[in-house]
């Protein structure tokens, strides 16, 4: 049978291969072809959504390819309600990234397209791999293209430092996870996730393994003491890099928590819930307050991402259906909102080549369309009812109230702080008096940018107004995750 997931994984690789053998002067063909490939992949992922059976918690579209059969390691792919939307988010964001760089990436266009297509394969593989070791492999291989994207197409001299930080921070977290999964492999004798789901680990070992996984995921999320790399990486990365970072890479960590830490080590997850809660609350409040004193537009969005990811981790570890579904929805929504905000900043940066907030003001006079889009996304960021983030944060708070009222209350202050920095940011950039220096530079969004922004607006409003389409496929899978007796 024709396997849709295999197609999703292989299609970008083939595209990258074709582009690799295209002479690099043929820029137009390279760009168009890469866009064509990524859009094909997006359509394919939509058909995965259409064919997805919402009435079962089983993994769907499964396929098994022998990799190292004598060590019991196989390429085993499949998706369930948890990973479905990440697949769609990934395939949606990659064409966006290619379009963002359509005019402002002028050097190494060929390598740019190859890097993004390979990155797409790696990210998709992370989300649909049902083998722990291969999950790790792809989880790590995301680093390579991302390192190059920040290092080569970044904007300033500091980008090298940022690329270094990004690479080493993530690596040092994940090598501990490698040891943990080797220990699991040593105990169980396989890295097949479905076998691991039904195997038991002793409580002592669970705590150890959980911490090792936590080291890896917490750096990726990032939770507060380990978040230093994120603002650096965001600021130095090109716009498309920031979109992928905010849209997908941050989700790898939280996805890992939900896919591995919680079902594999239920007792340890319960044991460490206070740790997660504390770190997330510190993250939400600290990051929100830090946002207020940033002068770089990208850093503001980066820190607000840290705050939102704090919400997500709280939701995940509330360990009930509402909380986890809210977390999933917020991840999805953050993937749209934060990416769109980075796109907005990229649009401004293309025109003025500065990201410092003090040079902006009164943009509504010269860029009305842009101001509209920026407004919608800012409202999404502060989770206004009617936008997607509201549904997510609301569900998370509902879930958390059932387990820990104090944490829910403290987390709710994050919403207020979010409102504060978002509105203040919008106010400073869009309203006020127009800075005369930049009038000539600030033309309104062009057609490419308009069509780039529009799908984001649709997605955000759709998820805010009628979230059931997105929640429906999740119900059974999420309920299945928390069915362990430890959570009852």
């Amino acid at each position: 049978m024709f396997q849709l997931l295999n197609f999703l994984l292989i299609c970008p690789l083939i595209g990258a291969l074709v582009i690799a053998f295209t002479p690099s002067w043929n820029v137009r063909f390279i760009k168009t072809y890469a866009l064509f490939i990524s859009i094909t992949n997006f359509i394919a992922s939509l058909s995965v959504w259409l064919l997805f059976d919402t009435s079962t918690a089983k993994f769907q579209f499964v396929d098994r390819i022998a990799w190292l059969p004598f060590l019991n390691m196989n390429v085993y792919i499949g998706i369930d309600g948890i990973s479905l939307f990440f697949i769609i988010l990934t395939t949606f964001l990659v064409p966006v990234c290619l379009l963002v760089g359509w005019t402002n990436i002028t050097k190494h266009v060929k390598e740019y397209c190859i890097a993004f297509l390979i990155l797409e394969t790696c990210m998709l593989a992370v989300f649909c791999m049902l083998d722990l070791l291969l999950f790790y492999v792809f989880f790590e291989s995301v680093l390579l293209p991302m390192f190059l994207i920040i290092g080569v197409w970044g904007s300033r001299e500091r980008k090298i430092r940022a690329a270094y930080q990004f690479f080493l921070y993530t690596l040092i977290g994940s090598v501990l996870m490698l040891l943990a999964l080797l220990l699991i492999y040593f105990q169980v004798g396989t890295t097949d996730l479905q076998v691991l789901f039904v195997s038991e680990f002793s409580e002592r070992r669970q705590l150890l393994l959980w911490l090792a996984f936590f080291a890896s995921f917490a750096v990726k999320v990032p939770m507060v003491p380990m978040h230093i790399w994120l603002p650096e990486a965001h600021v130095e990365a090109p716009t498309a890099g920031s979109v992928i970072l905010a849209g997908i890479l941050l989700k790898l960590g939280t996805y890992g928590f939900l896919r591995f830490s919680i079902p594999l080590f239920p007792e340890a997850s319960l044991y460490f819930t206070p740790l997660i809660y504390t770190m997330s609350i510190i993250g939400i409040i600290y990051a929100s307050l830090t946002t207020l004193r940033q002068i770089d537009l990208k850093k503001i969005i980066a820190y607000s991402s840290v705050a939102h990811m704090g919400f997500v981790t709280i939701g995940l570890f509330s360990l009930n259906v509402q909380g986890i579904e809210g977390a999933l929805l917020l991840m999805l929504s953050h993937g749209f909102v934060a990416s769109a905000l980075f796109l907005c900043i990229g649009t401004l940066y293309d025109r003025t080549h500065t990201r410092l907030i003090q040079y902006y003001g009164g943009l509504v006079h010269v860029m009305p369309l842009f101001s509209f889009f920026f407004f919608v996304f800012t409202m999404g960021n502060l989770s206004l009812p009617g936008t997607s983030s509201f549904i997510g944060e609301f569900l998370i708070l509902v879930g958390t109230f059932q387990t820990n009222t104090w944490i829910a209350t403290l987390a709710a202050t994050g919403m207020i702080l979010g409102g504060a920095y978002s509105i203040w940011l919008y106010n400073r950039v869009v309203f006020g008096s127009l800075k005369p220096l930049y009038i000539a530079m600030c033309s309104d969004v062009n057609r490419r940018e308009f069509w780039l922004f529009l799908p984001f607006v649709i997605a955000i409003v759709w998820m805010g107004v009628y979230p059931d389409v997105f929640l429906d496929p999740m119900h059974i899978s999420v309920a299945n995750v928390i069915q362990h007796k430890a959570f009852m």
């Binding site: 022998a66 990799w67 190292l68 059969p69 004598f70 060590l71 390598e111 070791l133 790790y136 492999v137 792809f138 790590e140 291989s141 680093l143 390579l144 390192f147 190059l148 290092g151 080569v152 980008k159 090298i160 690329a163 270094y164 690479f167 080493l168 690596l171 040092i172 090598v175 501990l176 490698l178 040891l179 080797l182 220990l183 492999y185 040593f186």
Partner: protein, 495 residues
């Protein structure tokens, strides 16, 4: 005639070595006569002899692959043929061939106009083949000495360079010293047991408890130190950076891979066959050496400015990983070591082939400082991509080949409860990442003070780089066959 009949099969078993010996001697005679012939104008013959040596290595490889025996002990129990020697011999021959191929251009352009170079390489290759299959202290020691003698000359072969002479002298002094320690260890063991044969030693030690220290322990310790010295494991590594840096680069490439295979091979045989009952004694030695090699390999390389020194420290680190696998003393451990060794050889061939390419059109300068790689990403994008793939692979970043060997190594360490070693191993791999990435940073991101335009690469090196890069990048897609082969070897040896 009686004598010949007695050894009839034995000669078959050592046929590749015999063939190579004859070939080396014939080539020597050919070189001596031809290069001094006035009639043909004293030809230099470097290229001719090098190519003939490569072809004789290819023939020897063919002979090894078609060996009629899979397991046998020959010449009065002094040599052995089994799965392990087969794998190691193939590797020794391949890496020697690769080292010769990549030095073709180097020999021509860096005024190393001596045809003896290839013959010395060939002779050391023969001694390493013998070393791999030696089954007795005497044959082992003689093979090591023959190999070392060739190496001393090779290290000093660039006669007009002070560095090279210094390297040769240093190598000679310290090599002789370590051989002395090795021999002393052998004699202590021989003194207390009266046995020099590996298998007899194993039989002699079996079943006796070896808890209280004895002379055998001392002998074994000295023997291990001798080997660790030659393997450049820390803390016996101090000679390595100077020797490797001073020796001509093509010789360094040869030193970095082939002797490691052979010495590690016989070391494996000694420890896991003869001294298996002393596992808990030698485990401490190896544990200590592995830890210090990992630390010195990763932290020592951070401060290096010359690329060869950097690679030496990185190879010290790799020796640390190899010792980690050996330390386990299990089938998984041996399997991991063999796998690591094979992939290490591939990566070393790749990286040295790139280092050996000249950086100006006159072909007089070569990559010496790491800053010489500056801007490679702009001037030679394909070469830069290849080099960065290899460096990432050496650092053990998935999905490149280096990762496959590393994860299995850590798994082996975990399954023999060497948790501290495994944790140290992953942490130092992160540190080593730092200096590998620094090279990539220099190639891609930095604005260099001057830009080197590499001259066009010769076909031999280009082929080597192409083959090894394809292997490194695509090994992940089907690792099964190599895993199975090395597993078969490890299982046949220990199982």
């Amino acid at each position: 005639m009686q004598f010949i009949n007695l050894f009839e099969n034995d000669f078959y078993a050592l046929f590749p070595e015999l063939f190579l010996t004859c070939a080396a001697l014939l080539l020597l005679v050919f070189g001596v006569i031809w290069s001094t012939s006035k009639a043909s104008g004293y030809p230099i013959l470097v290229h001719t002899v090098a190519w003939l040596s490569v072809w004789s290595i290819v023939c020897a490889l063919g002979l090894t692959l078609h060996m009629p025996f899979s397991i046998m002990v020959c010449f009065y129990n002094t040599f052995v043929i089994d799965e392990l020697t087969f794998l190691l011999k193939v590797m020794v021959l391949c890496s020697t061939g690769a080292a010769l191929l990549m030095s073709m251009d180097y020999l021509k352009t860096s005024s190393l106009n001596v045809f003896e170079y290839s013959i010395l390489v060939l002779l050391s290759c023969i001694s390493m083949l013998l070393l791999v299959s030696s089954y007795d202290f005497i044959s082992m020691y003689l093979a090591i000495e023959m190999q070392s003698l060739c190496f001393y000359v090779l290290a000093a072969s660039k006669r007009n360079s002070e560095f090279s002479t210094e390297a040769g002298l240093k190598y000679f002094l310290l090599g002789a010293f370590s051989s002395g320690i090795l021999l002393f260890g052998c004699s202590l063991i021989y003194g207390s047991t009266g046995i020099t044969n590996f298998e007899d030693l194993a039989k002699c030690f079996a079943g006796i408890s070896h808890t209280e220290p004895s002379l055998i322990h001392v002998g074994m310790c000295l023997l291990s130190i001798g080997f660790l010295f030659k393997l450049t494991a820390a803390p016996f590594h101090f000679w390595a950076p100077d020797v490797y840096e001073g020796a001509p680069t093509s010789v360094t490439a040869f030193f970095a891979m082939t002797p490691k295979i052979a010495l590690l091979g016989v070391f494996i045989r000694l420890l896991l066959c003869s001294f298996y009952d002393f596992l808990f004694a030698w485990q401490y030695v190896l544990f200590f050496c592995s830890v210090s090699s990992l630390l010195i390999g990763s932290f020592g390389a951070l401060a290096q400015k010359k690329i060869k020194r950097l690679l030496v420290y990185s190879s010290i680190g790799h020796v640390g990983y190899l010792l980690m696998g050996l330390c386990c003393g299990t089938v998984e451990g041996l399997h991991a070591v063999l796998l690591y060794l094979v992939l290490y050889v591939f990566m070393t061939v790749n990286i040295f082939a790139i280092i050996l390419s000249s950086i100006d059109h006159a072909k007089t300068n070569r990559v010496k400082y790491i800053q010489d790689l500056g801007f490679l990403g702009q001037t030679h994008p394909v070469l830069a991509v290849t080099l960065s793939a290899t460096l990432f692979s050496m650092a053990g970043i998935p999905p490149l080949a280096g990762f496959c060997s590393k994860f299995y190594l850590f798994f082996a360490a975990m399954s023999s409860s060497l948790y501290s070693l495994a944790i140290l191993g992953v942490l130092t791999s992160v540190v080593s990442c730092f200096y590998y990435i620094r090279l990539i940073k220099i190639m891609y991101f930095e604005q260099p003070s001057h830009v080197n335009t590499f001259s066009a690469m010769d076909q031999e090196k280009a082929t080597l780089i192409g083959l090894t890069s394809v292997f490194i990048v695509f090994f992940f897609l089907c690792p099964q066959s190599l895993f199975l082969w090395t597993y078969k070897v490890a299982y046949a040896f220990l199982g």
